[in-house]
């Protein structure tokens, strides 16, 4: 067995899987066929529903991958051959020639600036921008290494030019590079190859052939501040600001003619997002959305689409679009459509059209499937082994993550990624930590006392000519040499090259330096490298300081060498002033109790417990009911596989009950939680007894429940045949079906008390699916039964569900109603249960009245009872709907802000069993990272309290987002007396060093290490006074 994994695809799916795998103790080879990682997420402007800047949240993860010693980043590589079996695969990878020596390229860009070849469309900008033949895909690319396009490079195609070789001072150009085969031996393989959006494959009726019709991904680049138009909303034909922008939904998706029968799942949301951003960027624009169903089923999604309409004036039309035609003169577009609310055919005149075109498996998925020997499904996505574990491929030891298995959004992908990592850990549990290398520093750390006189060394980088051309580097060196405490200063060509690292170590040791400064590029990418070099020389890494004289001087003041040079001098002087006051910091190590507590015994809690237990850790399960299974106990048949729910329940329950590492507490509740990550003391109450447990991490899987619509839609005790969907489910479970005998017509009403203007405003995701399933089950039981479904929008996103719905549409009459005119029910006289329903069908634009014998109300899922208490005990937040609130809706869907506590399943948001299981495995993965590591290291960059100044007011405690601060009583000694006073205490295991507490403290009692008051004051002072 090998303790390493190949991850194929460097988008957010591959990035998150890789990061989690290394934390679980595995070496990762991250293979990406493009020159940079980042994938589709790097191309997005913002992310829904928070409108977070996409790159702001992704770039730190990309850099983390780049810096991780246990991830071998293989960009511009492709997997060619796979042999072997689970635990022992041999993977042959082809390294494509970049014609650049990766070890030498510094990413400075001198080559591209001089490259004469006519520019070609930039793929990263969806061909809207231009690039040279030597290029970097986008400015934040990881690795920051250039690549030559052999198709257009004059040297490689015609043997002339060679300018890049001449200008590259790092001597990184290598026209002789050849493709190279590399063999890797690994234990598991993860495919995370994502999606494409090939708008050009659509039939011509959508109008993509016209200049001012763009795909949504192209529009994403148009909106992006770093995109081809600098974030100005312009149309491609004339670069004028469009006034009327039309967004067409389902442009090819859910469409048998386009051969895309499924729903791409994310378009409704990104369209609302793009429309909102458009309004923000361009006040005069008007946005029109030509929608089909609105499928906005995630957390705060539906509300987001409503906000787009209410707050941003985006107009939604319920339509079917037939054609988009261009006006040849103005290049405007005419959309010919059917208004589904009036039944009339209309024309709409737009200046720009954005198509929500289908998302399909990325090009090459089928070839890769052949190489891996795994199956693809009928939609050409990788096929999952079972519906309930979408991360397993058809072949053991090979896993699937993200969009390559089927449409899903970013948080679902991230949950998948953590789930894949944990399932790899289950497979390769015996070889965890066998291939991981921990950096060992051979030179022992030298002691640096605060009283020692600072001896500062400074390295000023030329960065080829990137700095040197605009900043007088030798003048700067001369100036810096004379600054107080600077013992040594020198310039060099490339500070980041290996020979420079050797030189830094040499200087530190020769000159006995106790502080070091590099003035070069950005600390965001290079600080960790130099810190490591300092550590190798025996210098504590917090005694290093970095100055950015490239991005802040030479590159932004190119016409003003004097100004750039003066600024560089000031910035370095400020760094020297700070460096004088730098203190060596320690990173404490805390032990982790190797146990997990899982709160909730439903399918989510059981899956998480099994996953953790299989990794050899003790899992305690607490369930308030007297049996395991949660909501699964109430279900009859599971869709879309139409299998008895009891089968899944029994299989998983059996495993849980038999597992030696799992201890189950039924009819139990959490009474008290004390402590923090790795060291919780939890007390459990059961049958008047209580038990204490020592816990390392906690997973919250408390599930959700069905809303009972008391009073609404005549749901009351008198009306026996008005029941909820879950009540129907239970009836269908019964062997005796005689209750169906006298029933001729059944009516299902969807969105009962859901997606309202007030109260429950959200869509709870699963009700449509459950309703349609029960329609088909009723129809099977009684083929003569008439079934009517009253709906608003049908939520059947994801690859399987659209077809499931289409096949069953014939089983019922579907009537569409509007929130403004909800159906009314009145009971008929007489003994039998019969009701009259009146509904205004928006498709027919007519009121329909009919009689029915049974009414099924589909109500939303609401949070489990009494979550407030639990949330308080765990010190974790609930959202406005009462579900638990994760740390970040996009990239940390399973974490709480407080380290050590995780969430999964319907506790986070209503979801189906497939997604609950994915999240359960994901949360287990997130939790077991800490359990596997056995210890955690705290950062040196944390806050500290000066108890002398602390007045115990507690303001810091209230602002800390990580629950890292606690006000406790402490005994303070004053000359003769000792008093017990309230003081603030910071838990170094939880503090992230943001410093909000320090700035909030009214008495200056809290400081943040490495950014303390003295250090920042010294910088301000030297800038303005010296």
């Amino acid at each position: 067995m090998e303790g390493s994994v190949v991850v194929i695809g460097g988008g957010i799916a591959g990035i998150q899987t890789s990061l989690d795998l290394t934390e679980l103790g595995f070496k990762v080879y991250l293979v990406e066929r493009n020159p940079s990682i980042g994938g589709r997420m790097a191309q997005l402007d913002k992310t829904f529903p928070t409108n977070d800047c996409s790159l702001c949240i992704l770039a730190p993860k990309m850099v983390e991958v780049f810096r991780n010693p246990n991830i071998e980043l293989m960009t511009y590589h492709e997997v060619k051959k796979v042999e072997g079996k689970p635990g022992d695969f041999t993977v042959t990878v082809l390294k494509k020639p970049r014609y650049i020596d990766e070890t030498k390229c510094k990413g400075c860009g001198d080559c591209a600036a001089k490259c004469p070849k006519i520019e070609v469309p930039n793929v990263f900008d969806m061909n809207l921008g231009k690039r040279k033949s030597i290029y970097i895909p986008f400015p934040q690319a990881v690795p920051p290494i250039y690549v030559i396009d052999p198709e257009i490079c004059l040297k490689l195609t015609k043997g002339v030019c060679g300018v890049c070789e001449k200008v590259c001072q790092a001597e990184a150009i290598d026209y002789e590079q050849k493709p190279q085969e590399i063999k890797l031996t690994v234990g598991a393989i993860v495919a995370a190859t994502g999606f494409d959006m090939p708008a050009e494959e659509l039939t011509s009726r959508w109008g993509y052939q016209y200049e001012n019709v763009v795909s949504a991904l192209e529009y994403e680049r148009i909106l992006c501040a770093s995109g081809p138009f600098d974030g100005r909303v312009l149309r491609p034909s004339d670069q004028e600001e469009p006034e009327k922008i039309a967004f067409i939904q389902c442009a090819g998706s859910r469409d048998l003619h386009e051969n895309i029968p499924y729903c791409s799942s994310v378009c409704c949301m990104y369209t609302a997002k793009e429309a909102i951003i458009t309004k923000e960027h361009s006040e005069n624009s008007n946005c029109y959305v030509f929608r089909h169903d609105i499928r906005a089923y995630g957390k705060n999604f539906y509300e987001f689409t409503q906000r787009a309409q209410k707050d941003y004036g985006v107009q939604y039309f319920q339509t079917k679009v037939s054609t988009v035609v261009e006006d040849h003169e103005t290049k405007d577009l005419m959309i010919h459509y059917e208004d589904l609310k009036t039944g009339k055919f209309n024309d709409f005149h737009a200046n720009l059209v954005v198509l929500a075109t289908p998302l399909v498996p990325s090009k090459g998925t089928e070839e890769l499937a052949q190489v891996l020997g795994v199956e693809v499904d009928k939609y050409h996505f990788f096929k999952e082994k079972s519906f309930f574990n979408k991360c397993l491929s058809s072949k053991d030891g090979m896993f699937l993550c993200g969009f390559c298995q089927g449409p899903k959004d970013i948080p679902e992908t991230v949950a998948d990624a953590s789930g894949v990592a944990s399932q790899v850990a289950n497979l390769l549990n015996s070889v965890k930590y066998t291939e991981i290398k921990e950096k060992v520093f051979e030179v022992p750390e030298m002691e640096v006392k605060i009283t020692d006189e600072p001896r500062i060394g400074v390295l000023v980088c030329h960065c080829g000519i990137n700095i040197g051309k605009y900043v007088d580097v030798s003048g700067v060196v001369e100036y810096v040499e004379k600054l107080p405490y600077v013992v040594h200063c020198e310039a060099n060509l490339y500070s980041c090259s290996p020979d420079s690292q050797a030189r830094i170590k040499e200087v530190i040791q020769e000159k006995n330096l106790n502080r070091f400064i590099v003035a070069s590029c950005t600390p965001r990418t290079h600080e960790a490298l130099f810190q490591e070099t300092c550590q190798e020389a025996g210098l504590n890494k917090y005694l290093f300081e970095m100055v950015n004289i490239r991005d802040q001087c030479s590159w932004v003041h190119m016409g003003d060498n004097e100004g750039a040079t003066a600024k560089a001098k000031d910035l370095i002087r400020m760094a020297v002033a700070k460096a004088r006051l730098l203190k060596p910091l320690t990173e404490a190590s805390l032990d982790i109790t190797p146990t997990a507590l899982i709160i909730g015994g439903g399918v989510t809690g059981m899956t998480a417990a099994l996953n953790i237990a299989n990794q050899g850790f003790k899992a305690y399960k607490v369930e308030k009911e007297d049996k395991l299974g949660g909501n699964l106990n109430n279900l009859n048949v599971l869709y879309p596989i139409q299998e008895d729910a009891a089968i899944l329940l029994n299989v998983i329950q059996d495993k849980v009950k038999k597992h030696k590492n799992i201890e189950i507490f039924l009819k139990s509740q959490i009474k008290d939680v004390k402590g923090f990550i790795g060291n919780y003391n939890v007390s459990i109450a059961m049958n008047k007894k209580s038990q204490g447990l020592k816990i390392g991490t906690i997973i919250v899987a408390t599930g959700a429940q069905e809303l009972k619509p008391n009073g609404d839609f005549q749901y009351n005790k008198k009306n026996k045949n008005i029941i909820t969907q879950l009540e129907l489910e239970q009836k269908l479970k019964e062997k005796d079906k005689s209750w169906l005998d006298n029933i001729k017509r059944v009516t299902t009403i969807l969105c009962v008390d859901a997606r309202q203007k007030e109260g429950i405003t959200y869509c709870s995701n699963v009700c449509c699916g459950v309703s349609i399933k029960n329609v088909s089950i009723l129809k099977e039981l009684r083929p003569d039964l008439e079934i009517v479904v009253l709906y608003r929008d049908i939520q059947m996103a994801k690859k399987e569900f659209e077809e499931y719905y289409r096949e069953r549409r014939k089983d019922a009459i579907f009537l569409r109603y509007d929130l403004d005119q909800i159906p009314t029910i009145s009971k008929k006289g007489g003994k039998s249960e019969k009701y009259d329903i009146k509904v205004f069908d928006t498709n027919l634009q007519d009121e329909i009245e009919f009689e029915t014998d049974l009414i099924i109300l589909s109500t939303p899922m609401i949070p489990a009872d009494n979550l407030d208490e639990l949330a308080k005990m765990l010190k974790v937040p609930l959202d406005k709907n009462g579900f638990f609130l994760e740390a970040h809706v996009k990239l940390r869907p399973l974490d709480f802000a407080t380290d050590g506590i995780f969430l999964a399943g319907c506790a986070q948001w209503p979801k189906n069993i497939q997604d609950s299981i994915s999240q359960a495995n994901g949360a287990a993965g997130r939790a077991s990272r800490f359990l596997s590591a056995k210890t955690i290291k705290t950062s040196g960059l944390i806050a500290e309290v000066n108890p002398e100044r602390c007045i115990g007011c507690g303001k810091c405690e209230s602002v800390c987002p990580y629950n890292a601060i606690e006000i406790k009583e402490a005994s303070m000694e004053f000359e003769d007396v000792s008093l017990v006073l309230k003081k603030s205490f910071i838990n170094s295991a939880l503090c992230k060093g943001c410093g909000t507490c320090a700035a909030t403290c009214p008495n200056g009692a809290i400081s943040v290490k490495h950014y303390d008051f003295d250090q920042i004051f010294a910088m301000i002072e030297t800038y303005l006074l010296d």
Binding site: L55, P139, S226, D551, Q552, G563, P961, T996, A999, L1024
Partner: protein, 146 residues
Amino acid sequence: MSKAKKKAKQKEEWTPELLVFCCNWCSYAGADLAGVSRFQYPPNMRIIRVMCSGRVDPTFVLKALKDGADGVLITGCHIGDCHYISGNEYTRDRFKKLHEIIIKQLGIDGKRVRLEWVSASEGKRFADLITEFTNQIKELGPLKVF
């Protein structure tokens, strides 16, 4: 401001001295992107990097004004984007109070101290912001209060 420096300054043409606080995750990255994209702006400002705009203590701003800064700009992630969940919200609330003190109690023009949000992809916006801020301070002239 030291006397010697003030004197020297009076001789030459006056240029403003501006201090900019950037948070590590968004606005500093935005400044980096301005650099990578070669967006030009005036060289009169110096950046101090902090991990979060929430770290910017009001005393940092007051100290800078006292020591002779003609303008101070605090930048952070857009609301909702904060790497530390809610740090920038506290910055915003705290800034409101600080701004009031600066205007009402110190009698300093409120335009000299600003709070702005800049994301990691807003390199252009960062450059434009610095240009605009510099021009604004140039119009206001040197700060003479202390």
